[in-house]
């Protein structure tokens, strides 16, 4: 009798349970297939075996320890229906096969209007792949690749292929090949993503009119590489410590009519690297403590630099490959703030220098001809070499700012140099005896 009661109790529980919100069975794919369109599937704190294909609009919600583990032969989750929502899952063990016709991902989206959020992705070739998928929202995801040593063996954090009008927001990507890769993808918006230790944090190929705001790129080989892409807006992003022999904060290659505003380029090998690019505007950016602030190749024309703060860079700006006279270092009578390395007078107190600044350098030849010259950019000898070399070889104009702004920031390095120099000179002139007492004779005068 007891057994019968218990059985009927369990049976009634199943009957009462909402059909849209049932616990997942061991075979996740069967469960998904059995759900109605628009159902909500709540997954337990356990590991489910993939791979799975979602063919109807539904919501899958996991918990803290919900894992969907692929079998290593393909995409772990394929979304082939619109209006699918995935959240709070860990997705792992996608195929790493590089010889297959298809590029696999932890989550591959083929449709529109999906939401993928709060997903941890590990051990997969690409993280999230949008293939001709539009108007999707990809946010709060955490994607980790295999790290810098295995760049070529893996894919990208988020790969956007022929996909438009997507929102990529607050994702964290680390150690993948490229953080976000856009290929023939237009009108996408990327906000507040955090990308580190990848090859290129952001990689644009043939993708136009995208907006990129408040993202942070740290310790990548290159922060953002914009190639063959036009009419982009990059605003309020941070490019920090992208530092290596070929590194840069931002690369513009054959990229035209882009707006780069209010970004911070700090401690990069090159803050900006501009080659074969036309009509880009750089406004209100902070370009500080980079080895080279702006590396501008002569094939680039009609760039406009205005209202930027460019200070404490080993070389503020360098023009390579010949004269590029079509670039403008001011707009509407407002140039750039070049820091205390270029002292200017401002007698009428209008925050604009009374005289133009022209920076000549002889280093361009060395940088052009010998890639190893980048190894000396931190050496104090470089400045002396530049000055001495100026007398022997032809100097070229690196930039000419007709309306430089007055400096709003003192330089830290110059202050250190000044203090050290003063101490050394002081010791040599007056304090030799004191120095000898300090370091010798146990500190006692005899």
């Amino acid at each position: 009798m007891k057994k019968l009661t218990l059985l009927s109790f369990i049976f009634s529980l199943f009957l009462l349970m909402s059909p849209e919100k049932k616990l997942a069975a061991e075979n996740l794919q069967t469960t998904i297939d059995s759900l109605k369109e628009g159902a909500v599937l709540q997954l337990e704190n356990k590991t489910y075996q993939g791979n799975i294909v979602i063919n109807k609009p539904l919501t899958i919600i996991g918990s803290k320890k919900t894992v969907i583990k692929g079998d290593g032969t393909g995409n772990v989750i394929s979304i082939k229906a619109p209006h699918v929502k995935l959240s709070h899952l860990t997705v792992t063990h996608g195929s790493m096969n590089r010889n297959s016709a298809e590029e696999y991902a932890a989550i591959k989206i083929y449709t529109n209007n999906n939401i993928v959020e709060h997903i941890y992705i590990r051990d997969s070739f690409h993280g999230i792949y949008l293939s001709q998928a539009h108007k999707n929202k990809i946010r709060f995801n955490d994607i980790k690749g295999m790290g810098k040593g295995k760049i070529a063996e893996q894919g990208n954090g988020i790969h956007v292929y022929y996909a438009n009008n997507n929102l990529l927001e607050k994702n964290t990507i680390e150690g993948t090949r490229d953080g976000m890769f856009f290929e023939y993808a237009n009108n996408n918006h990327s906000y507040e993503n955090n990308i580190s230790q990848t090859r290129y944090g952001l990689h644009y190929m043939y993708s136009d009119e995208n907006i990129f705001k408040k993202n942070t790129f740290t310790m990548n080989t290159g922060g953002a590489a914009i190639m063959n892409s036009n009419h982009l807006k990059l605003e309020d992003n941070q490019f920090i410590v992208n530092y290596g022999n070929q590194s840069f904060g931002l690369l513009l290659l054959q990229a035209n009519d882009n707006l780069i505003a209010n970004n911070t380029f700090y401690m990069n090998q090159r803050g900006m690297y501009i080659d074969q690019a036309t009509r880009n505007e750089f406004r209100h950016n902070i370009i500080a403590q980079n080895q080279i602030g702006i590396e501008l190749w002569a094939s680039s024309n009609e760039q406009t630099f205005t209202l930027n703060q460019i200070y404490e860079n080993t070389i503020p700006a360098v023009t390579l490959g010949g004269n590029s006279e079509n670039n403008s270092w001011s707009k509407n009578g407002k140039g750039n703030d070049w820091g205390s390395a270029f002292p200017i007078t401002d007698l009428n107190q209008d925050q604009i220098g009374d005289f133009p600044i022209t920076y000549h350098s002889s280093l361009y030849q060395l940088i052009e001809d010998q890639e190893l010259s980048y190894l000396f950019l931190k050496s104090p000898a470089l400045k002396i070499y530049e000055k001495m070399n100026a007398a022997l070889t032809k100097e070229a104009v690196m930039f000419h700012d007709p309306h430089p702004l007055t400096s709003s920031k003192g330089t830290h390095t110059d202050a250190i140099f000044l203090i050290v120099s003063l101490i050394i000179v002081g010791i040599l002139i007056k304090g030799r005896h004191l120095l000898c007492i300090t370091f010798g004779r146990n500190g006692r005068k005899i």
Binding site: S379, Y385, R441
Partner: protein, 265 residues
């Protein structure tokens, strides 16, 4: 052990060690304040690189002075003759004296940097491996310049000579060495780049910097050209070890071969 104890007593009575330490402490705290606006997760690396770039100006010259005056003091106060009249010869004296110097300078320095780590913990997400690499870089740099300082103290006859030699060595590694290499840079090809690289990494400042920046993962050597691959023909850690051994041995034998026993003011 006697030498370490002797060195310790001599140095704590003097002002040099404390002056050097206080400079390092002040700089590191100043850099910490300056870096407090940096992000929690990656600011740690920025701080380490900034701190290294600043103290690289001070540690070499301070170690040179400490090493040089420590040896010279033995000559000046005639304690060297007293020590050598025992069974000791100059070589063994120099080894013990150098070990004493290492201990006296490095123990307070490392202690400070461990206290500093606690301060960093409140501001940044720590990478302990990265921090150990930073400390190893500082220790290697200190060892090289202490030993060079000891050599300067050994070959100098007067304090003026010590000042001259010390400033020259500092100036050489800061400016001249790189300046000479920069002059040869246009002629570097794939055939001679290995030689160029060996000379480049003979500069302890470059070897230490490369070790630190690659070890912490800040500097990446991805997608190297053939020339650069040939330039980096071994790992930065081996360049550093080679540099350390080279300068320790050279400085040690210079100190013995060109030793001048007498010293005057």
């Amino acid at each position: 052990m006697h030498y370490i104890w002797k060195e310790w007593k001599e140095n704590i009575r003097g002002k040099g060690l404390w002056l050097s330490l206080s400079i390092i402490v002040l700089i590191s705290i100043a850099i910490l304040f300056r870096s407090s606006v940096l992000s929690f997760d990656k600011g740690f690396y920025v701080l380490l690189i900034n701190l290294f770039d600043t103290i690289i100006y001070f540690i070499p010259i301070l170690c040179l002075f400490i090493g040089a005056f420590s040896i010279f003091q033995e000559k000046e106060q005639k304690t060297l003759i007293m020590l050598l009249t025992k069974t000791d010869h100059f070589g063994s004296f120099l080894i013990k004296k150098s070990l004493g110097l290492y201990a006296v300078v490095l123990v307070p320095l490392i202690t400070w940097f461990f206290i500093y780590l606690l301060l960093l913990k409140f501001n940044f997400q720590l990478d302990i491996k990265g921090y150990f690499i930073f400390i190893a870089a500082i220790v290697c740099m200190s060892l090289v310049f202490l030993q060079m300082g000891a050599a300067i103290g050994s070959i100098s006859r007067s304090r003026m000579q010590i000042l001259g030699f010390t400033i020259f060595v500092w100036f050489y590694f800061f400016f001249l060495h790189d300046f000479i290499l920069l002059s040869f840079l246009p002629d570097v090809t794939h055939e001679n780049v290995k030689l160029f690289s060996s000379v480049y990494f003979l500069n302890p400042l470059q070897a230490v910097r490369m070790f630190l920046e690659t070890g912490t993962g800040v500097y990446s050597f991805g997608h190297m050209s053939r020339l650069l691959q040939a330039f980096m023909w071994t790992k930065p850690v081996f360049f550093l070890i080679g540099n350390l051994l080279f300068w320790l041995v050279i400085s040690f034998f210079t100190a013995i071969v060109f030793n001048r026993k007498e010293g005057y003011e």
